[in-house]
Symmetry: C2
Subunit: 233 residues, 2 copies
Amino acid sequence: MDLDAYPHPALAVDCVVFGLETDKSHETCLNVLLIERGLEPFAGAWALPGGFVHIDESLDEAARRELAEEAGLHDVFLEQLYTFGAPERDPRGRVVSVAYYALVRLSDHHVRAATDARQARWFPVSQRPDLAFDHRQIVDLAYQRLQAKVRYQPLGFELLPQKFTLSQLQRMYEHILERPLDKRNFRKKILGMDLLVALDEMQQGVAHRAARLYRFDEQRYNRLVQRGFNFEV
Amino acid sequence: MDLDAYPHPALAVDCVVFGLETDKSHETCLNVLLIERGLEPFAGAWALPGGFVHIDESLDEAARRELAEEAGLHDVFLEQLYTFGAPERDPRGRVVSVAYYALVRLSDHHVRAATDARQARWFPVSQRPDLAFDHRQIVDLAYQRLQAKVRYQPLGFELLPQKFTLSQLQRMYEHILERPLDKRNFRKKILGMDLLVALDEMQQGVAHRAARLYRFDEQRYNRLVQRGFNFEV
DNA sequence: CCAAAAGTGTTCACGGTACACCCATGC
DNA sequence: GCATGGGTGTACCGTGAACACTTTTGG
């Protein structure tokens, strides 16, 4: 059969990028990165970073390329989410989009506006504007997936600095899961997993007792998983 | 931007169809449906049912159409799995494939060979032949997903007849999870969920004490979920 | 009467949850 | 010295896991 016997849909990738606003104040919240569209359709509207897949690159490569081009992001956690293919999802014609979600450390990555002067901005997930195409649906699904997966995979560390306090870790989970956790139980459970390494280093410049810093030990995690360990928050 | 400025990859769907061989004997096992390819590439090899997405149908529609065309299957449980897009996965050129997995009741569905004389056959998941393209990878991922999801979603009922015994239900889980379950604990847990309706009907034609038949009550399940209930085996 | 599977309760160990006070630091 | 978050232990309860015998039916 000839591959070109029928017309092919266009193929795109779109990325839902999550980040924790870790400003110096104690207020943090889960944000999503949006791009202001410069071109029709939906010119001037907010949308997910993304674009068409090149004929010689894999889907993952396309997603990473778009994140680099449109937001200056490199080396982030990235995972495929779902493929959206309703025939009328793009007014220009048939476009199927493979959606990804990404987690970034805002401490490491400064988001650059895209090269072509459209702006890139963070919005709290709960206060995002109307989005172009079916991107609202995509963000909703990505957030659901994040909420589910953060509980049984150590994804959350991708959102924090390499060195973090237990309170930062706890607040991260509280923001994603949208419910409070008990401080003593949380610490007991997390430290009991033997995944975190206590550093000889304390938090700096806070107006109260400084907290100890920890880091996530990925090697130790992988070893534990091989022995049947299951991460769970 | 012109949608056709660049060449588009071809877009296909492939389906991993699982079924439980429920022959009259007590031996059941998890099977996957394969198609013998009639055309190059990989002519004569076994492969997943699937084909190219038409320009005006959704991805789900394409998957259901292919299941009907290639295996005579209708009205099955179907869920998107993952999209495979490595540039070299098809020797004919760039083909991106949206993979699905399906669960069928072998009691309800007789698999018909496809119209064009290629055969369709069930193979035990653990004894499947070499497969065309990257289909081995797709089956592996589908099986992993099934093993994970069957534990926290009531998917398993899609593999059993509408009326089933608790032992059939237990054996289904044992085959999918590949580990034995304790009979008393299993019954206590399942019945305690209040999801099954005991029927006034017994198993027929067995050479030992006849077991009671049950059915899964989906409405009751949906109501419980809304109250925060979590299915778990 | 024998083979084969159905059906049925209790005990124990562990992990989840609830809960309140003192400590260290910067201002 | 006071405001702010850091850090710590115990008691209770519910759920998961281990475990064996009697019942029913067909052949």
